[in-house]
């Protein structure tokens, strides 16, 4: 068993050989690395297989001595290889000699050895059960609403740190700036309803009732609903993103350290602005929607404008029709503002969490709007308000 032999394990990349040259004599082996052991060298896996085959075949070898060839180019992928190999050898009780390695490589190997002793652990992310998490969310939201009410009282009694300028700024950005999109959406809603309705009404030869249909539907239902949905996507998401980003930047914390309540300073102006702007936008949407119906009525059905308006007027003879829509829109505005701000304030600590809270702000406010709308209709019909 004392004979010596010479093995070479290598792969060719381009026209260069990369691998290990092994000189075995008795139970000692000298391994010399040559070529380019770089991350970009893709055929290391093959060398690794051959190497393991060699080690299995030569179980009698007890001591491995590593050295680098003169022309060797190497980076951390070789260190990783050496670290893995020597760990295996040490476990099997074989000895590994690294004295002949350059100092830099030896140091990197040692650095790795020291730190790999530290315990491997995984963070404990205990998954809170869905139900209790949901319940906590509801309780949190109720607490948020309570705090909002108390800061509203403070604001009304003039003791709040809310700045009037913030309120006006928020009102402008969620009210006036939303006019173009509200115009487009509600005009098209009125137009579409008129087209769809006209086909049905024509069957009964009651085409002029298209004015009743469009005006009642817009005023009672669609105006508030459309404004609500636009506001959720536009303003609710913006609130959540803005406040959430402030939380990530620790701006909220810095407000708190100055004794300024984020509720009064950030949430109140935004929610109040939306609360006040939503009915105004709804009135506007109602008018534009009716004009959309009028366009179909005059251009497609050949009614005169005057005729159409008179019919609209008689349909809207009770002012309650308009008020019921506005009442809804007040609540919608409140819901959107509250949900947006709540989601922003309760966002997590990283940017992925911010994305999630913006998404859930929009989803939650749209859902709540539709639910509230249905609730309103049910209550109205039981109270004989229709």
């Amino acid at each position: 068993m004392n004979e010596s032999d010479h093995t070479s394990i290598f792969r060719v990349d381009g026209n260069k050989k990369t691998g290990i040259e092994i000189l075995r004599s008795g139970n000692r082996a000298r391994c010399r690395f040559f070529g380019a052991w770089l991350i970009s060298f893709e055929r290391k896996e093959g060398i690794n297989r051959d190497w393991q085959a060699f080690v299995r075949k030569n179980q009698s070898v007890e001591s491995y001595n590593f050295e680098f060839g003169d022309e060797l180019r190497w980076d951390s992928s070789l260190i990783v290889f050496l670290a893995r190999v020597s760990k295996d050898f040490l476990r099997e009780g074989k000895s590994v000699e690294t004295e002949r390695l350059p100092q830099g490589a030896r140091r990197l190997l040692d650095l790795n050895r020291i730190s790999s002793d530290s315990i491997s652990s995984s963070p404990d992310r205990n998954e809170v059960e869905g139900f209790s998490q949901g319940l906590m969310g509801v309780l949190d939201f109720i607490a948020f609403f309570g705090e909002w009410l108390s800061s509203l009282v403070m604001a009304i009694s003039g003791k709040s740190s809310m700045r009037m300028r913030d309120l006006l700024e928020a009102a402008k950005s969620c009210g006036a700036s939303a006019l173009p999109i509200v115009t487009l959406i509600s005009f098209l809603t009125g137009l579409t309803m008129a087209f769809v309705g006209s086909v049905q009404l024509e069957k009964f030869n009651a085409k002029i009732y298209i004015a009743d249909l469009v005006s009642l539907a817009m005023v009672r239902e669609m105006g508030a609903l459309m404004v609500g949905i636009i506001m959720s996507g536009r303003t609710g998401a913006a609130f959540a993103a803005e406040i959430g980003n402030m939380k990530l930047n620790e701006e909220i914390d810095s407000l708190r350290t100055f004794g300024i309540s984020p509720m009064e300073f950030l949430v109140l102006p935004r929610t109040l602005a939306l609360f006040l702007m939503a009915p105004l936008l709804t009135v506007y949407a109602d008018v534009v929607g009716i004009l959309g119906g009028l366009t179909v009525g005059t251009q497609v059905m050949d009614f005169s404008s005057l005729h159409y308006f008179e019919q609209t007027q008689s349909a809207l003879s009770s002012i309650w029709e308009v008020f019921s829509g506005l009442l809804k829109s007040l609540l919608f505005g409140l819901v959107i503002g509250m949900v947006g701000c709540y989601k922003g304030l309760s966002t997590g600590r990283d940017s992925a969490a911010l994305g999630k809270s913006v998404t859930s702000a929009v989803v939650m406010s749209v859902t709540l709007i539709v639910v509230c709308d249905a609730a309103f209709e049910i209550i109205f019909s039981y109270l004989d308000l229709r």
Partner: protein
């Protein structure tokens, strides 16, 4: 002087944002395997210079050569090749928050190499162990402390074994012991891997500990005032401002 290889060669560089000029006529070079510190008071354009060195800010004029290649005058393919040759440690670590540490380090490896999954994970784990973060492979950045984030950022910057590493204020927000450990890690890596380091900092202790060479930027003249080893500059610089900058720290030490 001519026989040493220049890792970075900047000549007559001017930088600015929009209509405002921040730096002009900046010329310096960094020898391979050296650690250059970019220092200067707040608002002197340290970060701006770093941003243009790493390819985030287009220079107004002048040239930047990284290992004799110009990042700003290269084709997209060539540019990727150059980008691969350096790593950047951002101030807060800038780890991607939706990925755990192993994934953070694996991403550049996946992008630039055709290694197998197992090899990539092994390399990533090794890089983490180099910066003393073994066992934190599956942590998300939000679950780490500031110092750990920074070290993880360093591991990611080293993912592709770059020949140049850029550091943006490595010691900002770290306690003195942690920041000294980071300095030691930098020296360790410099000696073992022979990397070139460019460090933006105004932490005096760090400057004296790690710098082989330093440049001083000045906000008033909007240019580079002096270049040299900090220990030499502190006594022999022609500029009062530099001696003052470096001495204040010595007095308070």
């Amino acid at each position: 002087m001519n026989d040493c290889v220049k890792a970075i060669d900047v000549s007559n560089l001017s930088l600015g944002y929009g209509s405002s000029l921040v730096l002009k006529g900046v010329t310096f070079s960094v020898k391979e395997g050296d650690c250059l510190v970019i220092m200067g008071g707040s608002g002197c354009g340290k970060r701006t210079l770093l941003k243009s060195l790493i390819g985030l800010l287009t220079p107004r004029s002048g040239s930047i050569l990284l290992e004799d290649r110009n990042l700003w005058e290269s084709s997209i393919k060539k540019r990727k090749e150059i980008l691969k040759s350096f790593g950047v440690l951002f101030q807060g670590g800038a780890l991607w928050s939706s990925m755990d540490l192993v994934e953070n380090i694996s991403l550049p490896l996946r992008e630039y190499t055709n290694l197998r999954n197992r090899e990539i994970r092994e390399l990533a784990r090794y890089k983490l162990s180099l910066v003393g973060l073994s066992g934190y492979e599956n942590y998300f950045p939000s679950e780490l402390s500031g110092g750990m984030k920074k070290r993880a950022g360093l591991a990611r910057a080293m993912a592709l074994d770059p020949s140049i590493l850029f550091f943006d204020e490595p010691s900002a927000g770290l306690d003195p012991i942690t920041s000294r450990k980071l300095d030691e890690l930098i020296s360790e890596l410099k000696q073992s891997l022979g990397m070139t380091f460019v460090v933006v900092t105004h932490e005096l202790a760090s400057i004296f500990a790690i710098a082989d060479d330093a440049i001083f930027l000045d906000a008033d003249t909007q240019t580079l005032l002096d270049q040299g080893k900090p220990a030499y500059l502190v006594e022999n610089s022609m500029h009062d401002r530099i001696r003052q900058f470096l001495k204040r720290g010595l007095l308070s030490n």
